[in-house]
């Protein structure tokens, strides 16, 4: 580092330490950052507590079923309990399993869509779609306003901090009458501006990293295999995003306008990236890809056989079901036992099968809509960064789609577990409780890291572009 650079940095540092307003701004941002971490963690704690309650409820339910095998069948209630525990005709639609999406440790830092989508479902063997569309309780006003989490502080407030620190780098000198003095120095003005920008870059990005480190270390163990890569991506994202805004400011400063105009332009760019472009794209996508959820409403209906007393209708439904389930086909000789229960089970299963096309079509529309939106991340670095953060924290729409896909296969396992018993006329025994279906979420870790890196590359390119243009303009443009 040359002597001139050191001198410039030293004097800029002195100027910074004497500016109480700037120090107060940094302090306020730091406190807001701490609050956002606290808020995010308290939100996720509520989710974790609920998950704990839900798991407890499931444990108690299945414990009761298991216990009923040992009990003396003295009372009607005890007999009923055993019936529910052992008779598949009851059990398939009474036994409730929970599919749970445990929040990632860093979900507290970027709540994303996880306050909007249910993170647990109680599933029985009944129609999946009857059980899949219920929402979690949420205050719509709160959903509309959004969360004050760390990703909000980094994406919305840090650019403002950067604007407040840097808008006067050139115009301030001009208005204070120092500029002609700078021009007669041997060091060129572009270098002076860049050195000053670099100091503020380290200062503000340093603050962002400090808050992020506090968030990352207090939200989970940074050293675990699941968290370490996520934390690394987070830190990389913070550095690139701050660099992007410094590059934008460098570009605006290079236009050499007066300080009010520079501030207005910078505020305008902030407004463009954080409010106008996303707001316009949101309404555009809604009108370009309108979704008709009413078509899905119909499949949530609880239907029964047209004529429950009609044995022939019941048999037809069972035969249709067996045709789709080869492993149960031999059980058609037992059709006369428990016919209605089998027919009802077959009906719900067939209904799910028939509805799947509609659900897949709907999900595909959602996918198309959001793929179209992601193409605009090039012109939308703030949204891109938000998308990266929530990808890291696994609170994005994609994670909820994966959750739903895993639920489908879990529901198939549950149904199959009970239908094997029901259609082969076998009771559920105590030993079967050690082989109950369990939920596992399928994730694609390679796709996860690729998407994050791709997003970071997009912001990096925009950063280089703004900096490069600013670098050229700064030299060419006269005072």
């Amino acid at each position: 580092m040359s002597k001139v650079t050191i001198t410039l940095l030293r004097y800029e540092w002195i100027a910074f330490t004497r500016n109480t307003f700037q120090i107060v701004m940094l302090g306020c941002t730091f406190l807001l950052g701490l609050y956002s971490i606290y808020y995010g963690q308290s939100e996720i704690k509520v989710q974790r507590d609920t998950i704990q309650d839900v798991m407890e409820i499931e444990k108690t339910e299945f414990h009761q079923y298991q216990a009923s095998f040992k009990e003396e069948l003295a009372s009607v209630e005890q007999k009923k309990k055993l019936e529910i525990a052992s008779d598949p005709a009851y059990a398939w639609h009474r036994h409730g399993y929970h599919a749970i999406l445990h929040p990632h440790d860093y979900a507290a830092l970027a709540i994303g869509q996880c306050d909007l989508h249910p993170y647990y479902y109680r599933l029985t063997g009944m129609s999946l779609h009857y059980q899949l569309f219920e929402n979690e309780i949420a205050n719509p006003v709160k959903l509309y306003v959004g969360n004050f989490d760390l990703s909000f502080v980094l994406i919305y407030l840090f650019p403002l901090l950067i604007i407040a620190f840097c808008y006067g780098l050139y115009s301030g000198e001009k208005e204070n009458g120092v500029l002609p003095l700078l021009y007669i120095q041997t060091v060129n003005i572009r270098r002076i501006i860049i050195v000053r920008l670099v100091l503020y870059f380290f200062l503000i990005t340093g603050l962002a990293l400090l808050i992020s480190m506090i968030g990352l270390t207090t939200s989970g163990n940074i050293m675990t295999s699941e968290n370490s890569l996520a934390a690394l991506f987070w830190i990389l994202g913070v550095i690139i995003y701050c660099a992007f805004w410094f590059a934008v400011l460098f570009f605006i400063v290079s236009l050499k306008m007066n300080s009010s105009f520079t501030a207005i332009t910078a505020a305008g760019v902030w407004l463009l990236f954080l409010i106008i472009i996303p707001a316009v794209l949101n309404v555009w996508v809604t009108t370009r890809y309108p979704l008709d959820s009413t078509s899905l409403a119909e499949i949530t209906r609880r239907t029964s056989l047209e004529n429950e007393e009609d044995k022939n209708e019941a048999r037809e439904v069972i035969y249709e079901f067996l045709a789709h389930n080869p492993h149960l086909q031999g059980s058609d000789s037992l059709i006369h036992n428990n016919t209605l229960a089998k027919a009802y089970a077959a009906l719900t299963s067939l209904k799910d099968m028939h509805s799947k096309k509609d659900v897949d079509h709907y999900n595909n529309q959602v996918y198309q809509r959001n793929r179209w939106i992601s193409d605009f991340h090039w012109v939308n670095p703030a949204v891109n960064m938000q998308s990266i953060f929530i990808h890291i924290a696994k609170t994005d729409l994609n994670t909820f789609h994966q959750f739903h896909t895993s639920i489908e296969s879990f529901h198939r396992n549950i149904s199959d577990f009970y239908f094997q018993k029901l259609f082969w006329d076998k009771p559920i025994q105590r030993e079967d409780y050690s082989r109950l279906p369990s939920f596992k979420i399928k994730t694609d870790e390679v796709k996860w890291s690729t998407l994050i890196l791709l997003g970071i590359v997009k912001i990096s390119i925009a950063t280089i572009l703004f900096f490069g243009i600013g670098f050229i303009i700064m030299k060419k443009k006269k005072i």
């Binding site: 869509q113 309780i137 509309y144 407040a164 209906r301 938000q386 998308s387 729409l397």
Partner: protein
């Protein structure tokens, strides 16, 4: 008065010469046009979808065939939330409230399909609506327009000239405010003309009975809101030594008013008044239905008591001898008790919502944005109160539907028989098609008294500050 108009005229001329203001005005008009167009398209699309679904649903209900009324009660029906014509102006919470609900016996389903669930996280950055332009972007235009109101006069030395010619501060303030308000009017009037033409062309679902009155109220509250911003900006400019300081102060206020405070207060609300999870909420309802609201009146005891009452009332010794099917009576009594329990829990839940939102309402004394946001949503019938009202109406409709099914079963079938009795289309027809009408404009405004009061306070405080500062300023600088 003449000097006030002269100042206003001069101010308008200067603003017209500024390229920045012209550019921003074009941006605002452009955004308003996009908001209006997309609002119109989205309204039309959703309205068509909902109307079609509604008709199909009605046809399904009437054409469900002959069946036992209790099976029909479980077959149930769907209700779809209609789009109100004013949602074209302010989307409000429509993206975050569910759009349809399944109505069936024994169970109050929650609303399904929040449109935001089908969007990526970008939806949390907000959607462009005309209300958003008026609430967030036009105040910014006002700031850019008015931050130099006094500072420029001061920096150019013209303020001294004006004062020395006997022009009072009060006249300068009035002149500037008139000028900025006129410029604003010129920008937004084309929007209102197009909006008015659109509203006459579009056929509304009729769910809002008093659109005209609501539009009038909207005009008034927005005029007050924007005037507050104009006056506030002029006052800040008057108090600031340089244009740069005025601009920074106003931009800081804008960010606090429209971004930071609304988000923070909503978060505080949730932290102070936590919501139960759906699972725990449902479990609590089921427990109270099982054991009774006081925990001492279990379901079996309630049913036995009901049986005893009926046997006594008809003076018979067996339910088989009752002139009606006791099963239908029992089901309806169970339904009534379930409704009673549900109401207790639901009221509690709504109470938590209200407590959470009260913090935002009270914060409208700190930021006028919260006042206008809430009142505007209310008048556009896209707010939480309308959503809750809609839920109540649908729940009453469900109760009426189930009651009709149970009573028909009680009156027309025999105890111990089920498949033997089948009701037909004549019974389905007695359940009227669902129609929703929002609360009246007065009723909705009554829910937003705090916000209206805060807007008045803001107006009065700004008026007082301007008056006070204009008298306090020395005539010679």
């Amino acid at each position: 008065m003449n000097e006030v108009l002269l100042i206003a005229k001069k101010e308008i001329q200067i603003a017209l010469r500024k390229k920045l203001i012209a550019a921003l005005a074009i941006v605002i008009i452009g955004l308003l046009s996009i908001a209006l167009y997309t609002g119109y398209v989205a309204y039309n699309q959703q309205q068509t979808i909902i109307e079609q679904a509604k008709q199909e649903n009605r046809t399904e209900w009437l054409g469900q065939g002959d069946k036992h009324p209790h099976i029909a009660a479980h077959y149930g029906t769907f209700v779809f939330k209609p789009k109100t014509i004013l949602s074209l102006f302010d989307f409000g919470l429509d993206t975050y409230t569910g759009t349809s609900v399944y109505l069936e016996a024994h169970y109050q389903h929650e609303f399904m399909f929040r449109p935001a669930q089908d969007h990526s996280s970008m939806i949390r950055f907000g959607e462009l609506s005309a209300a958003m332009v008026f609430q967030i972007l036009i105040p910014l235009l006002i700031i850019f327009l008015a931050f130099t109101a006094f500072t420029e006069e001061r920096e150019n030395g013209t303020l001294k000239l004006l004062i020395s010619q006997g022009v009072s501060y009060s006249s300068i303030i009035k002149g500037k405010i008139i000028a900025y308000v006129s410029i604003l009017f010129a920008i937004v009037i084309p929007f209102f003309v197009i909006a008015f033409i659109l509203s006459t062309v579009i056929t509304d679902s009729g769910s809002i009975p008093d659109v005209g009155l609501r539009v009038l109220f909207l005009l008034i509250v927005y005029a007050v809101y924007l005037s507050i911003f104009v006056a506030f900006s002029v006052w800040v400019s008057m108090q600031s030594s340089t244009g740069r300081n005025a601009l920074l102060t106003l931009l800081t206020c804008w960010i606090l008013f429209t971004i930071i405070i609304p988000k923070t207060t909503a978060n505080f609300g949730e932290s102070f008044y936590p919501l139960p999870s759906m699972k725990i909420y449902r479990e609590a309802i089921q427990k109270d239905i099982r054991n009774g609201l006081d925990g001492k009146n279990p379901k079996i005891a309630r049913e036995q008591q009901l049986k005893k009452e009926y046997l006594q009332h008809y003076n018979v010794d067996s339910i088989h001898k009752l002139p009606l099917n006791f099963e239908g009576i029992r089901m309806q009594a169970g339904e009534d008790y379930g409704n009673k329990v549900y109401d207790v829990h639901w009221e509690r839940l709504i109470d938590i919502f209200n407590h959470q939102n009260r913090i935002s309402s009270l914060s409208s004394f700190i930021t006028p944005y919260l006042a206008i946001r809430n009142v505007s949503m209310g008048l556009a019938a896209t707010d939480l109160n309308t959503s809750i009202h809609f839920q109540k109406v649908t729940e009453n409709y469900r109760r009426e539907l189930i009651r009709k099914m149970n009573l028909d079963m009680a009156q027309n079938s025999k105890y111990g028989e089920f498949y033997e009795y089948k009701a037909d289309k004549n019974l389905w027809k007695t359940v009227k098609d669902f129609r929703y009408t929002t609360m009246s404009a007065y009723e909705i405004l009554r829910q937003y008294l705090i916000e209206l009061l805060s807007l008045c306070c803001w107006g009065l405080v700004i008026f007082f500050l301007l008056n006070y500062s204009s008298h306090k300023k020395k005539p010679v600088l």
